[in-house]
């Protein structure tokens, strides 16, 4: 998946805006938004909020989690823990990038928030890389990683599954070979049991 596809999915998250115009309810395929009353906060999808903001028709209210204190705490917890912590938003990176990119003036301490988000992203990515490495080295067959966001999963997507596929097919060769080797030992000693074993291998 392209990162822009993940961005598209994340744009459906809701955000509060204060419109500077009045308009009735608008009916859209994804649901209805509004009614807009100038000066009264209203909840809209991010994509609409950003479009209105670009046309100077509203002011964006930052999401609850987008403040320095809460993000600093999240960063602290993330660096302390060996595992992945739950992020305040499922698309923290995309939301942060979109809102801070277009509506930076509406968000207090935008530059600091941007830095902290980047820090959290880097910590989590390095954790992800080292856990993949440990997973491959130990030859595990399954792993459980909680609280990974879509963008993070997407960053390793074609590489990791394909590497696991290749590893599986290499391991399968070894396993089949051991079976056949055993059956050959039997073949040299006892014909009937070797045949039985052969059928067993073929049928399984």
């Amino acid at each position: 998946m392209d990162p822009s596809v993940v961005e598209f999915l994340a744009e459906d998250q809701m955000v509060n805006i204060v419109p500077s115009f009045s308009c009735d309810r608008v009916f859209l395929i994804c649901g209805e938004v509004g009614p807009f009353r100038a000066g009264l906060p209203v909840k809209v999808p991010i994509w609409l909020a950003l479009n209105l903001r670009q046309r100077q028709k509203c002011r964006v209210l930052p999401p609850d989690w987008m403040n320095v204190e809460q993000l600093l705490q999240a960063k602290e917890e993330e660096s302390q823990s060996r595992f992945f912590n739950k992020m305040p938003s499922e698309h923290y990176m995309v939301e942060g990038r979109l809102l801070l990119g277009i509506a930076a003036e509406d968000i207090p301490q935008a530059d600091e928030i941007r830095t902290i988000l980047k820090d959290i992203w880097d910590i989590r990515m390095s954790k992800l890389r080292s856990s993949i490495d440990a997973f491959i080295k130990t030859g595990g067959t399954h792993a459980k990683l909680d609280h990974l966001t879509d963008m993070e999963i997407n960053s390793i997507r074609p590489l990791l599954p394909h590497a696991l596929d290749e590893m599986f097919s290499l391991q399968r060769v070894v396993r089949t070979h051991i079976f056949l080797y055993i059956s050959n030992i039997f073949l040299s000693r006892n014909n009937s049991s070797a045949l039985l074993l052969h059928y067993f291998i073929i049928s399984t």
């Binding site: 990162p3 277009i102 030859g139 390793i156 590489l159 394909h162 596929d165 290499l170 070894v174 070979h177």
Partner: protein, 311 residues
């Protein structure tokens, strides 16, 4: 007696594998049908139907009856032709596809389309089986002396050593047709395995072989006492080098020297990881975008009210 034979033949005819014992008493009609159906099966392209007007079928029948009247034991055996042979089926399907859809068969596997067993036309698999293995002839082979460039004679004598492509060596070293014995190529021998065991990450795998893993998997499938050890070293090498491949894919620039140290499998993984990372980087550095109206919506002319009134 008569009935028994007929039934038996009928049943075996259905099994397409007829071995019928005859003693001239058998019903003539039944025999005709049997021969007819056998010939039809063998020659579907000649346009034969159940009725026997084809001169070839008639001639076969004639021969059959001559044989029947002579006092001998007669067996009828169905020979399967090329049906069910994997390569032939694949080639048939490809030819049919080309004839009906006009598509050229060209199978380049992307990692995404890669299955656990390689496709018959997979170029990578073809190249991997083209690698040469040292072989020793244990039977004399007449008229193939040219395979051994150092010999002058027309024939290959017992004990000749030659490097044959793996696909050929595998076919002529099977239990049924044991003409050569295969030796393990040197890159999979103990000395090289020790190098990989010591530290797989510093090795230039590309120099070991372009298809180190795929070819190695074929080698480890051979019936050799080192086979299991080779299989194990392949898996271990892959595991140890994966971190490096992933790091290079995520962090390297466009240094061509790096991907030159990987074998083809690692290289395709590297290329994928690199592409994903490039997309992610592009996304991270991209500026804000603006939603615009689609060109179709802009160009769509509104109907005038006057036009609507006419409707």
């Amino acid at each position: 007696m008569e009935k028994d034979v007929t039934c038996e033949m009928d049943r075996q005819n259905k099994k397409r594998n007829c071995v019928g014992k005859n003693d001239a008493e058998t019903d003539q009609e039944e025999e005709k049908e049997l021969v007819g159906s056998l010939v039809v099966k063998k020659l579907p392209s000649e346009g034969c139907t159940g009725k026997n007007e084809d001169p070839l079928v008639l001639r076969t029948q004639q021969l059959f009856h001559t044989l029947l009247s002579s006092d001998c034991e007669l067996g009828v055996v169905w020979i399967p032709g090329h049906v069910g042979i994997r390569g032939n089926e694949a080639a048939d399907a490809a030819a049919k596809d080309g004839a009906t859809n006009g598509t050229l068969v060209y199978w380049r596997e992307s990692m995404a389309g890669r299955s656990l067993t390689p496709h018959y036309f997979s170029l990578e698999d073809i190249f991997a089986t083209q690698e040469r293995v040292p072989c020793k002839f244990i039977l004399p082979v007449p008229r193939l002396g040219f395979l051994d460039p150092s010999s002058e004679s027309d024939d290959i004598v017992v004990g000749t050593s030659a490097e044959l492509p793996f696909w050929l060596a595998r076919a002529i070293s099977s239990r049924r047709r044991n003409i050569v014995t295969i030796d393990i190529p040197k890159i999979y021998k103990e000395a090289y395995r020790e190098i990989l065991k010591a530290d797989a990450c510093v090795v230039d795998l590309h120099k070991f072989g372009l298809f180190f893993y795929q070819f190695g998997a074929y080698i480890s499938r051979l019936n050799h006492r080192d086979s299991a050890a080779i299989g194990a070293i392949l898996v271990q090498t892959f595991k140890e080098r994966f971190r490096q491949v992933m790091d290079w894919a995520h962090n390297s620039g466009t240094d061509p020297a790096i991907s030159q140290r990987l074998d083809s499998l690692e290289r395709s993984l590297f290329r994928e990881g690199h592409q994903t990372q490039a997309q992610l980087d592009a996304w991270l550095s991209q500026g804000p975008e603006r939603i615009t109206a689609a060109q179709m919506v802009v160009n769509h002319k509104k109907r005038k009210l006057a036009d609507l009134e006419h409707l």
